[in-house]
Symmetry: C2
Subunit: 284 residues, 2 copies
Amino acid sequence: MLRVISRQFAGVIDTRTRVSSTKLNTHLRFLNCCSLQTLGRAVCVGRPLHSPDRPESLKKSTTRMSSTDQNPSPSKSVFLKQETLHKEKWLSLERVTYQDPRGKERTWEVVERTTKPKIEGVSDCVAMIAILNRLLHYDCIVLVKQFRPPFKAYTIEFPAGLVDPNESQEEAALRELKEETGYTGTVLAVSPCTALDPGISSASCSFVHVQIDGNDNANDSAVACPEDGEFIEILLIPVNELLHRLQEMAKQKDVVIDSNVYMYASTLTHPHLGMVPSTIINSD
Amino acid sequence: MLRVISRQFAGVIDTRTRVSSTKLNTHLRFLNCCSLQTLGRAVCVGRPLHSPDRPESLKKSTTRMSSTDQNPSPSKSVFLKQETLHKEKWLSLERVTYQDPRGKERTWEVVERTTKPKIEGVSDCVAMIAILNRLLHYDCIVLVKQFRPPFKAYTIEFPAGLVDPNESQEEAALRELKEETGYTGTVLAVSPCTALDPGISSASCSFVHVQIDGNDNANDSAVACPEDGEFIEILLIPVNELLHRLQEMAKQKDVVIDSNVYMYASTLTHPHLGMVPSTIINSD
């Protein structure tokens, strides 16, 4: 019962819940007292569930430190220097030296794109979550399938491309979408600059949500104009079937799904995975 | 009106729709005839919306080719060879030679982890989408914040780690979660092996959904035991606030969000972005 009240209080409407107002009020009072109590040494980071009477000390957002050192102080790492180990036309292998929170000097191997923009916060590339809306069709997501030498296989990815110098992310998104798929779209939203694989590389990407009006004549006769050496198959997949289709494609020996495409599909289909009480055991 | 019928037929219930049964039937007949017609040269990949009377030729899933060559045939690329250009302890810069669909020999620069498993389809690492369920708390996602030398900044990531030899992905997920955060969880689902940044590297990852019972004593007194050199802050963020919190953190100069974490949060919060009729203009 407590859990149901907690969920209800969290804004999840469960019409099957039967709770008397007296019981609810009792538990809401209880909630005011203890909802942000520490769990072990961890404290919930976020707005308090309900905070008017909470002491100041409990409102503070904190985190906990996980370290081999009991009390590393300060919990800060400091970048010291970067050296190029080997540079090719597109990629460069680098060594970064930094100081860990205990003051020890450490090194880390890093790969960088040689084309990386020098401006802070500007991402190397944009990837488009492009939804094609057409009369009498399911809304489809536009994906691309192409041979990717790093995997020696075909990947299923969002249309994507590098941001040119002096180009905004929105401009790059619409230009690359047009080049790779032929479609003309409208930008709905742009993500911040995100890290694609921060354990090994500085490659970054912004995701651009694009809506494509498939009833527009320009899109009805869309013709792609990819760059030399680009051979791209365009996949239009109904959004409500996306996860299932990706899982089927992933079974093929020579096909790999891009992690962000899979994450998008999986979250769309099973948003409540792991959340009580609507846990789903299988992802399929 | 047509669009409304299309959406309704696509299984999206819109209680505001008013359509007479005659009109609906007319359009359903129309739908049977043309819903999988080509759009330009593209054909929808997916199950037909409604297919009992559709000719066999229209049922076939196809894709379209986007290429500088009018008719590259066959539309296949072939891996030829791979050479090491420069190898360090953890990363290796390689050159892959392949044949494009027109038979032309091309090269591609690739970075590989030297620790990459040799078994096909087994991912280098696992990342855990770990949800902490506790009485009287919002369900929280467990994320980690750490200094990442490639970005010279702190990143917000899923807990993650490399899969050891002879270890299953589920075992690696629970071991790494315990090491990095101290939590003991239950695996709910595992994704296929996905590509983190297939344009430049062969790094791959499987996502493991983990549920953590925060009411269990073991998790109440959870203590992390990270490896030497790992300094990790653990963030517990209510899932229903995740996107907003990430967007706030991304504004900090020294913080970068992992792309998969952002994709998860963004899709949870705005699943219908770009889909008619529930388009949302801003991602915030």
